[in-house]
Point group: C2
């Protein structure tokens, strides 16, 4: 793996740098404690513009906005900020309009930056605005959740939700810099940290069996903070970057990142995206276990691998079965509908990420819906 | 030039094909009479999807929507349509939202198409929607004005207006096919055709002196229709395509396409985009004459070239002086403000497209605002 220490990092020995070598739009991901307080210097050393428009949410803003503004000011960046309500509902056309208006009012030009300070919601929304204002201005991600640091802040997918579904409007707009402040994760709830950890484990399960083994041994230190946390984030960012560079627009291999997500999304939809019942990472955790169990049922993988995955995720405190989701689930046919989404697809075969074992996942585009139906029927709580 | 006749064109001898060889996103521009009535076949032979969402305006829709729908149906494309009010005000976030909702309701997937049937307003709006629905679906341009056929339908710039200015939100989203039906131009008013012709002449003035000479001889036939009109559109599309392939995102050479546009946009702003006083192409015509006169004043070009340009544009019936714009113009300082836009730029030097003579334009990024001011002061009506 190509993870190096950035220049001048001797006194910040834990810091890591992941370079994303997209042609003409290469960018750095820095991972380490205290990056929010050093954001100004990291930005001015990489971007030409000296104006910035910060988008954050009310929770994150209360914690980190002042430190970020101070750092930008110290380095001569003229910044304005906008704090939006926290939560998935902020990913709306109405809020996109508000953000774009604020960015234009701040006279952000192509070389200036929109900065997203927050989790995936803020990153997706601010990134979309950065992608369409003047047909694209610079974009800096400062993700403050584990989920955003290891997943949504890397790779350029942006978007908002519509009445037709999630992320149905958006653009591919790569960031010009990602600052993953590992210390910011200390303010996350245990549940939120665990949900992000599901995506960390996912990278091991896709194609890094050694990393999964390392996580089995070191997960407690990742939760506690310190070098292991930074290492886990860096390996995850590198894994995501590798896939994105190979297949930026998801015409092939990038689909592997959906391991656990097909079942997971269906469960999120089945619980009406009610975060008191299920958050995204929890859906992914259950989904990954189901993907391994389903692969075993199809004689593609050993049942022992499914047991191993389930054991680890359970040990860290993640849900691993549908029965752990509070409240009633809809009928199995409805779950399958959510998986198939489109009637056209339902008539034919389904595409799933399946596996031959830990770290050996693959894209299967010939899964019969009837197999999924009977599998889900067996696994759902009776 | 690389303009060929498309296959099967023997019986449609006048038809031309311009290929835009963008890497991974190459597309064809077909130019000829009757293409709207053959759209279904041209689309199905190039695109995989069999659904389409047509966006048009009430004027154009009344003329051509039925023929287009019939052709799509004949070739097995399931299509829905949306007719919006004609005019620049339709390039709004509100209408973008309406278009996206209609496209999503029609279950347009990545390989299906959004089709723009109309002028630049419809093309810019529908193209923006096509660029953001599912982070990009296929896009077919069927431009029905000369301006759209030779300029806005080629090159992938899309956008809407905001209270801060024109085209401030948008994406680069290349079409997958452009069908320029030359017969559709017969229904344009003389004034509208002339306005589009200003952009045709522009390609000669940028770097094709022979083409400008050809236009001086053949412009009447271009206005009348027939092979010369198709030839003029094809040469223009090829010229634009060449620039776009070289510099898709306007970081360099693409700026040459702004010949006449810096002065032209300032005049459009000065007349509050009131089309009864000035339409875009008329502003460009005056702007191109001013650009040649200004270049002569700076001893970059011969005054004879400016006279030649003015003579031709006047012969076709375009305005060539600020004095021809009905109503009062704002003070010269205000015109300069509109040119400089940003205070930062105003303090320093301005970027203009200047020329060494017909077909010898270049990017000048060191124009002193004081020179522009005294030039405009001299040229404005007293």
């Amino acid at each position: 793996m190509n993870i190096s220490k950035p220049e001048g990092a001797s006194e910040r020995s834990a810091e890591r740098l992941v370079h994303v070598p997209l042609e003409g739009r290469a960018y750095d991901i820095l991972i380490g404690p205290g990056l929010i307080g050093r954001a100004g210097g990291e930005i001015t050393s990489r971007l030409k513009g000296r104006r910035a428009a910060i988008v954050t949410d009310e929770h994150v803003g209360a914690h980190y906005l002042e430190a970020l503004m101070d750092s930008l000011q110290t380095d001569g960046i003229e910044a304005v900020s906008l704090s939006l309500p926290a939560g998935e509902k902020t990913k709306s056309l109405e809020h996109l309009s508000t953000v774009c208006d604020m960015v234009l009012t701040a006279r952000i030009e192509r070389n200036d930056a929109v900065i997203a300070l927050g989790g995936g919601v803020i990153g997706d929304l601010a990134g979309f605005a950065a992608g369409i204002v003047r047909r694209g201005v610079r974009f800096v991600q400062i993700p403050t959740t584990l989920l955003a640091q290891v997943d949504s802040s890397v790779g350029g997918k942006t978007g908002i939700n519509t009445r037709h579904g999630k992320n149905l409007l958006g653009v591919f707009h790569q960031p010009d810099l990602v600052l993953a402040d590992s210390a910011a994760l200390d303010s996350l709830s245990e549940r939120e940290f665990r949900a992000g950890y599901a995506e960390v484990a996912k990278y091991g399960l896709i194609d890094k069996p050694d990393f999964f083994g390392w996580l089995e041994k070191n997960w407690k230190k990742v939760f506690e903070g310190g070098p292991e946390r930074i290492e886990a984030i860096a390996v995850s960012c590198q894994a995501k970057a590798d896939v994105v560079v190979e297949d930026e627009r998801e015409t092939g291999r990038r689909a592997l990142l959906n391991l656990g997500h097909t079942f997971g999304h269906a469960l999120e939809a089945a619980t009406q995206y009610d975060s008191s019942r299920l958050v995204h990472g929890e859906g992914v955790a259950i989904g990954m276990v189901l993907a391994h169990q389903f692969s075993a049922r199809l004689n593609l993988a050993s049942p022992d691998d499914a047991k191993r995955v389930e054991a680890h995720l359970r040990e860290v405190g993640l849900p691993t079965t549908m029965g752990e989701i509070p409240g009633e689930l809809p009928p199995t046919e409805k779950l399958l509908d959510a998986i198939a989404q489109d009637k056209k697809v339902k008539g034919g075969k389904l595409t799933f990420i399946l596996t031959h074992g830990v770290g050996q996942s693959f894209i299967a585009d010939d899964v019969p819906p009837s197999e999924v139906l009977s599998f889900l029927e067996e696994k759902r709580p009776k």
